[in-house]
Structure formats: C-alpha cells, structure tokens
C-alpha cells in the first residue's frame, strides 16, 4: 500500500468498532442476554417486593403454578424471588471485582512495562507470587479476615485476579513504548505520566477492554464459588448463596440449585459473547478483513 494512494476517508475508530460490534450476531445476542439479566436484577425486586428470605411454602416444594413457580428450597424460601433478588449482589460483586482487578492490573502492568529494568523485575516477581497462589484459597482467607460484605468480597476477588491483566498490559506497553509516536512525545517534552496514561494506554485499550469483559465473567463465577462455600454475605441473597445452601438436596430437589445455576451460566455466557464480539470489533487485523 503506497503512502499516498490511501483514500482520505474514514471514520472515528470508536464508531467503526461499534459498527463492527453491532454487525456481529454473537455480540448482539450476548448484549441482549446481558441486558435482560441486568434489567431483571434492577427492576425485578420492584415487581416482586417480597423478601427472598421469607418462607412461602413447605420446604423443597417442587415447581408448581399454585405455590412457587420455581419451587422452594430446604427452608421453604421461594426460588424465583431468590433469583430475582440475588441478581443484584452477583452482578454488583462481579462488576466491582472486575473493576478492582483491571485497575490493579493496568497500573502494575503499565508501570512495569514502561519503566522496565529493576522496577519491571520487582513488579513481575510480585505478579508471579500472586499467580502461583491458589486464587480461591487466597480470596477465602481474605474474606474470612474481614467481614464478608459486598465490598470486601469484591476487593478480595479483585486482589487475586489482576495478574493476567497486568501481564497483558505490560506486554502491550513493551511493544508500544518503542513506537515512533511515543518517541515523538518525548521529543515535544511530554512528561512520563502523560506518556504512560495519555499516549500509550489509549493505544493499549482494545485488548484490555476485551480482557476486562472476560474478567467480569470470571469474577461472577468467583463470587458464586465464595457464596457456595458459605463465605458470601449471609444477609444478601445471591445466586451463589442459593446454590450453596441447597447443595445437599441436589439429587432429591433439583430445582433449588438448577435455576440459580442456569442464571450464573447465562450471565457468564452473555459476558463471554460480548467479549468475543468486542475482540472481533477491536482487533485491527480482523477488522481489515471486512
């Protein structure tokens, strides 16, 4: 491609990516699915104001149209109400844990990749230390050290799951910091902070956005695991808590664990589909194949 033959047309890269995203059926399905789940979590409790911890029928009643549509658990609590109310906690923890993990990961990775040398060595050894720790065990320790609230759970999940983002960010920075436009920033006298956050990071964002999306899915599964193990916030209904409290009855009363399990599955699936769609839309190599 000759330097001068390129037509001077084009659109904003973000808008182009959005258009690519909207064209991908997988991404649209994921987006619609996640939208429905978020709407359920946000609006559902208003439509079904009953307390999800209330006993509504005999324990372990099977799904029926008369009493509980999706059945009850071993304490007689309505599974449907639990699902509607539990979505908020699951999504809130998933999102904020992913946010914490991405913030730590980007900061560590950006500093390591940009400065290199001893700083890089130290930060990468720290990252490896966190990588070899069994993540679930470590976050269990963190949660039990503090009172399990949504905040501490999100922080402890974020604190154990930032390593992949850090490595990805570092790799992007190592690649980008050698490019001419970064040298050009040095040449006009821009400071290091400006170059890291204002010049290199925006160019590293496409893969990081994809990775952040997948991080949400991982964090939701993580939250479910912690709740399943009884380490969630016992005063907040969540899908993981529902699965955990009814796990002994899975063979006799399948509904108590299956329905919340399906919700987790659908949520993580939706997030993954969006991640795939974003990957296609933001990856310049795939984009050129249009």
């Amino acid at each position: 491609m000759s330097a001068n033959s390129r037509p001077a047309h084009g659109e904003h890269p973000t808008r182009e990516a959005l258009r690519m995203f909207a064209r991908s059926p997988v991404a649209v399905v994921g987006f619609a699915l996640l939208g429905a789940i978020v709407a359920l979590a946000l609006l559902g409790p208003m439509l079904m104001p009953a307390d999800p911890f209330d006993i509504v029928a005999a324990p372990l009643s099977p799904p029926s149209f008369q009493e509980a549509l999706l059945g009850t658990d071993q304490q007689g609590r309505d599974v449907l109400t639990g699902i509607v109310h539990g979505g908020r906690a699951t999504l809130a923890v998933g999102l904020s844990a992913a946010l914490v993990s991405v913030l730590i990961g980007i900061t560590v990775g950006a500093i390591a990749g940009f400065f290199g040398g001893t700083i890089d060595e130290i930060l990468m050894r720290v990252t490896e230390f966190f990588q070899v720790l069994p993540a679930l065990l470590f976050s269990m320790v963190l949660v039990t050290l503090f009172t399990p609230t949504l905040m501490t759970i999100a922080l402890s999940i974020g604190a154990v799951s930032w390593t992949a983002t850090a490595r990805l960010t570092r790799a992007e920075f190592l690649k980008l910091k050698e490019l001419d436009f970064v040298a050009a920033e040095h040449v006009i006298g821009a400071g290091k902070g400006r170059i890291i956050w204002g010049v290199i990071l925006p160019n590293a964002l496409p893969p990081l956005i994809v990775s952040a999306t997948f991080a949400i899915g991982t964090a939701i599964l993580f939250e479910a695991s912690l709740s399943f193990l009884g380490l969630g916030d016992p005063n907040r209904m969540s899908w993981g808590l529902m699965i955990g409290s009814s796990r002994s009855y899975i063979l006799s009363s399948w509904w108590a664990v299956t329905f919340p399990g399906c919700m987790i599955f659908l949520t993580v699936l939706a997030v993954s589909l969006i991640g795939d769609g974003l990957n296609d839309a933001l990856n310049p190599k795939l984009r050129e194949r249009r």
Partner: protein
Amino acid sequence: MTAAGLLRIEGLSVEFGSGDNLARVLNDVAFEMKPRETLGIVGESGCGKSMTALAIMRLVPNPPGRISAGRIVLGGEDLLQATDARMRDIRGNRIAMIFQEPMTSLNPVFTVGSQIAESLTLHLGLSGAAARARGVELLKAVGIPSPEQRFDAYPHQLSGGMRQRVMIAMAIACEPELLIADEPTTALDVTVQAQIFDLLRSIQQARGMGLILITHDMGVIAEMTDRVVVMYGGRVVEQGATRDVLARPAHPYTRGLVACVPTLEMDGDGEPADLPEIPGVVPSIWELQTGCPFADRCNVVLPWCRQEMPAATLIGVAHWVACWQRQEGRP
C-alpha cells in the same frame, strides 16, 4: 567559537553497555552551528547520525546507553548539565525533531489537531479555542489544504506526505530555535520528497530556525545545506562549508560518498557510467577501535592509520578533516 552561535557540541561521546560489552557509538563528536544555518549530517547507516540527534535532545536510551563525555551548548546553556524538568521544557519548545517515518510518528488514536495542540498546551499554555486557532494556522503554514477539516482528521485518513507535513507543523508549533530532521523524506515518494524539502526550506527562512538535516543522500546535502558534517563509525571525519566539502572532499570516505551520487552522464561507449562503490561495510560498534575506523575500507591507507586516530586538521576556511593523508608527518 563565536558567542552568537546557536549550537556548539564539544567532545561528545556516547557509550552503550559496560565492561566487556562496551560500545562507543559516538566518539569525540564536535561541531557548531550559527543561527539560521542549515547543517547537514551525512554518513552510512550506523555511523552515529541519529544518535547525535538523540544526544542533542538528551534522549539516548538509558539504560543501556549514556552520554559519557562532552558538552552540548544551546544558546549559552549546557544541555548536559540541565535538569530533567528543564530538558522537558527545552524539548519541543527550543529544539524540535522530525522523524523518518511519518506513518508511525503520529498517535493513531487521536486527531492530528489534538496532537499539535498538545505541544502548544505543554509549552505555551494554550488550550481550547486558542490552541485550535493556532493549530489550524500551523496546518495552513505547512501547506495542508482545508486545514479546518484536517485538524479533526485521524492520522490514518492522511497520506504519508500529509502526515509528514503534520509532523513539521507539530515541530514548529512553539517556534523552536533548532529543528532536527532525521531523514525526513526517506519514507516518501520522490515527488513528495521535493515538496517536503521546499517546505522545510521556506519555513526555516520564514522563522529563522537553525536546521539540522540528517541524511545519507549527498544530493540532499548539496541542495539544502550550508555546512556539512561527515560522520563515520561514530566520529566526525570531515566538516566544512558544503560547497568546499563537495568541491574538494579531503577524506577518502567523503570522496567515496561524493563519487557515489548517480549522474545522468554517459561514459565512452554510450552506456550509463558505472556507479562506484565504497568496498566493505561499516565496522561493528562492538569491535574495539584503535586508529581510524575507516582504515579497513580506505584505498589510501597508511601503516599507522590502524594505530592512532588522526586529529582534525584545518585545511581551508572552517574546513576540517581527520585523516593521516592530510597530516604533517606521522605519530
């Protein structure tokens, strides 16, 4: 050494690595520039041209590189003594630089306007509408059609020549005293090259900047520069007024470079004349140098050339050469 000089470089040495892996990429480089002068730095790849430019900006990659000796005096101030904050203030403001590759020198995720405005914000404190107005003015000054629209264009929407014009607009945004152009047209088509050189020349004259033009093309040197510095193996081997150096090249390497310029003349049998070449390759920077770095490729080498580097000798009006052939006697 006139007080009115723009830039004076003395004994500049740059080293990479340490101990057994020590490489001297610049060795005792010295030259000076008057205001409004165009200085050409010419030499093969790897001879230290670009490293000299980076050293002037104090942007030698460190580690592994460092400036190990010398002085770089810009308008009376030694840049090697300046603090990092002072240096950031000087870069882009008093010294600006243009790179070889306009396709990659612009940040792909921001508009060209915002990249021009950045320098204005950093050094002149302009922002918003004022920065935009000044940016559009700069785009106009570098000959970009419909600058208002182009201000909001992304780099990928511009051709290579247009991008190099944008780079020049960014470089002159703060009215620098010195502009360093590192092979500014190597990546462009021949017709665009001529346009960019015309632009550089008119901008330099209009704004009274000093211009350092780094190139490997003797044709560009002849066309554009007042003085020329010929570098080889990290050393300055010859320097002087461009017409003197081209008319009476004293160093065998300069003679080779001058002879390498293709001409349209025919030889006796009506065929185009064969283009002479300089045999051999540039010595690796990792080889320990004693003596003249050009000795292995030189056709008039003397026995002691490999033992000691000749000092620069004055052979005309401000025309210096570092060659034993032009020295009285031997070491």
